[in-house]
Symmetry: D2
Subunit: 295 residues, 4 copies
Amino acid sequence: MCRVVAVKSTTPIQLAHLLTRPRHSIINQAFDSRLRLDLRRPINGDGFGVGWYDSVVDEELGCHPCLFKSITPAWNNSNLNRIAEKTKSPLVFGHVRATTAGSLSQDNCHPWSYEKIMFMHNGGIAEFDKIKRKLQASLSDELFLVPQGNTDSEWAFALYLSKLPDVHAREFSPAVLRDAILETIQHLNELAREANITEPSLLNFFVTDGSTIVASRYISSKYDEAASLYFSSGTTFSEYAPGGHYRMSKSDKRENIIMVASEPLTFEKADWMEIKTNTLIVITPKARSHVTRRP
Amino acid sequence: MCRVVAVKSTTPIQLAHLLTRPRHSIINQAFDSRLRLDLRRPINGDGFGVGWYDSVVDEELGCHPCLFKSITPAWNNSNLNRIAEKTKSPLVFGHVRATTAGSLSQDNCHPWSYEKIMFMHNGGIAEFDKIKRKLQASLSDELFLVPQGNTDSEWAFALYLSKLPDVHAREFSPAVLRDAILETIQHLNELAREANITEPSLLNFFVTDGSTIVASRYISSKYDEAASLYFSSGTTFSEYAPGGHYRMSKSDKRENIIMVASEPLTFEKADWMEIKTNTLIVITPKARSHVTRRP
Amino acid sequence: MCRVVAVKSTTPIQLAHLLTRPRHSIINQAFDSRLRLDLRRPINGDGFGVGWYDSVVDEELGCHPCLFKSITPAWNNSNLNRIAEKTKSPLVFGHVRATTAGSLSQDNCHPWSYEKIMFMHNGGIAEFDKIKRKLQASLSDELFLVPQGNTDSEWAFALYLSKLPDVHAREFSPAVLRDAILETIQHLNELAREANITEPSLLNFFVTDGSTIVASRYISSKYDEAASLYFSSGTTFSEYAPGGHYRMSKSDKRENIIMVASEPLTFEKADWMEIKTNTLIVITPKARSHVTRRP
Amino acid sequence: MCRVVAVKSTTPIQLAHLLTRPRHSIINQAFDSRLRLDLRRPINGDGFGVGWYDSVVDEELGCHPCLFKSITPAWNNSNLNRIAEKTKSPLVFGHVRATTAGSLSQDNCHPWSYEKIMFMHNGGIAEFDKIKRKLQASLSDELFLVPQGNTDSEWAFALYLSKLPDVHAREFSPAVLRDAILETIQHLNELAREANITEPSLLNFFVTDGSTIVASRYISSKYDEAASLYFSSGTTFSEYAPGGHYRMSKSDKRENIIMVASEPLTFEKADWMEIKTNTLIVITPKARSHVTRRP
């Protein structure tokens, strides 16, 4: 199972504070992993990716996110260390891959982007080989050619794009982004049913247009728990003790910074709210509120 | 355009003599490149791959080839240098990639193998995006799942496998391997015709089962020349002067070693026979004779 | 021989305009290479590096440059493509490595930085193995531990740092940066003399503190030409025709953008002035003037 | 802390049985890691290396080992998987790196070789920066130039080579290989003493000439335990249950296969004998006996 984090901040935050400096970041995480479902293989192994949007909109640079991916380990990646020290962003996705689907290549590293939309997945589509052809057949010629790798997750991204009313739109409402997640899950469930797949799929999807973040915690089963998903928010996220000990401070009720992650990313577990199975969370452009809703 | 070489030798030959030591190997080649059609981008750039069969059949090790691929340059690859010094083989494929199709990943490096069959491609399928879906639709479920990368060439390999009467056969006759090449080319031509593609495809394919090699020099055009293909054979291939100067010696009429390559790989151009456009060459298991035939 | 470019611009310039979009950038360069001294090996092979300073000084992000390095080819590097599209900078160094010294690793890719100082080298120190120990012995304990790779160039960087009056200074005058280059060259010449090395060294060094750029064109020989070095300046550097055709425009006498490169980077050779052998060029913080001087 | 294994077998063994197929190989190991001293960072992270000698001596191929190294994770490395399936060897070293010393590069991956000698290290030299210069000063010009990376371990290898009476010898007796280990440890202890280093060094060294293996379990402290080291031997090492469950069989008293590893590599802990702290083990060319001795 992978490790993921999505962050929205009213003030651009240095990537180093999210990724490389905290002891308990998704990259350095070396502590309590009892929350993890899958102990079959070492974490931090199959590459990682980071995506972020600009702090200041610059017409020449465009509205799409920047992505940095690598197939060598994240915690010892000089490029990532340097870029994380030098970059601030109001909206960041990070993903550490540890999975059995797809070979080791940058093409297979999350997140992916298409124009303004960025997407990542924590989980897996059960017996994907059995539904791959039908999923592909449902895509337009444009979207069929989007995936460059060979993972279930990247095809789920193409499917997600196909559920947007207009993939080239200049703006997306939170409702549009959310509904496309719901339709993607529904479509995958139908494909599984048609193929008589009974093994449940783990569909924790994260999507953003640079303003809104939508994340699902979903499993296609009535009895099992989905892959874990946690939420935290506060006024600042900063180092309170040397050695990378970070904490979410809540000096008032404002949500200046909001994080959604596969695990609590600080030692204070109380600061992290578990998002319930088969629920989704929407972080609106103002980063001030959120709503959850059953898929 | 890529650089390729296929070698069959009655005595196992050290890979270093084919790949890393000769000044004019497909890897080190830095001399006369006037033969090259495509000067748009530097050679030696998009990764390379080497495949070889065992010198001695060992039941435990199986009959499939071993492959070594890398996305870092071949001439400065320590692993390749060491392995080439330490490995002997009677049948070797080498491929240096330089193309615009597909991203930089090991999955996209030639050659590919499936059980005993090994395959590589020099050229490109014109406007492949327009025929990708139909090509995939023609494949069995088993072969549809073979490709791991995103190149036209790897899908051509899957198509080739589909033309074999039994992809799991323990033995393949030269005629079977050759006919599957002809059917693959014919099928690609039909797909292009249906999609109204007029740009010609360059279809120099190389295939082997570890005993026979079949290579095509083909372009789907009546007016243009295919990508170059050369042939050389002799009693020994060895260094005649320090500094990696190699030569094909012909002390008698025996063909102990046979090479098919995208360019002459020695300074003595006279030792290299050009294979005519829209022809194919078959090197039989005994490495003693060859026949060519129009596709 | 490597390819290098150093750029200073009064307005921050998108890295893509310098590195990835121009047909004739140091990365894409596929045209007239008659200027190159060394044709022994393909260009673009042994990794590359890019370093740049922030557009806006942000106390939290510091004054040191950001570096991105890779051992896979530059022109097909997705991370570089994405970062170059998303980054603007007033001062950029780029380096494509093609050399025989040092193995293929990111540690061996130029440029290197230490606090505010960034450095790269085009050329080679003759018979470096014979002077390596003495060079190391001349370094302080701090600087002895700076190099992480195994190239002559990185040790030249450590030597350069040792020539600065205070490597931790917050500001460096152009004269200080320039004199340290002169002393570095002088020291290397002395080491060569002591070791009876007669083969000339090619010492085109590039150094900056984020404000001033100093570049040398030097060979330790009275008879040979140094590795080439060119200079161009103008009001804007932009694409005048589709397909990556860039030009330096000179609408007035202002030098808004200044480039120093191993080769002319546009088709209009007249826009490029050759810097004479055994000369150095200083680009001052205002990017408005330059001076040259014999080392 | 790293994971290491050294294997000597009277019959050449397929590398896959040692490295890639067993669930509990140093590469796949995902089970009881309570033996590990250092939980600060994920295992399997900083690259790996494998070295092996030929099954059959072939004059053309030489007597030195072949090495394969990579900075991407071992368990998802297609090249390693393919090579391990296709290679048999009577003497294999494997090393998975997880350390804080030295950057991520193939040059920094163990094992290293010089002519016939192969070497790897599990542990670390305390405060190496303080003794690096003196260590280097003790080396001949030839050996000073051997290291290509920047780790304490590779310099320990150069130091080891300097303790051999003749590094270019065609044969080495077990006593010569062993004494050089003892002198290396002694020399490192002296350097530490001179530099007033009190933190203990962990010096589990493994060395071989292709016939004899010598391994030390050593810590430069009277109170602490050295990094763990285990020993197992038997008639065959094979899979007794599907899913990579391997076992050492002991059908008679012969030691056909001998393993020395940082951890027990099978579930049957009783098959593994712990090697005492500050002891070394010698496996003689016949792989039939071993002796231990206090350093």
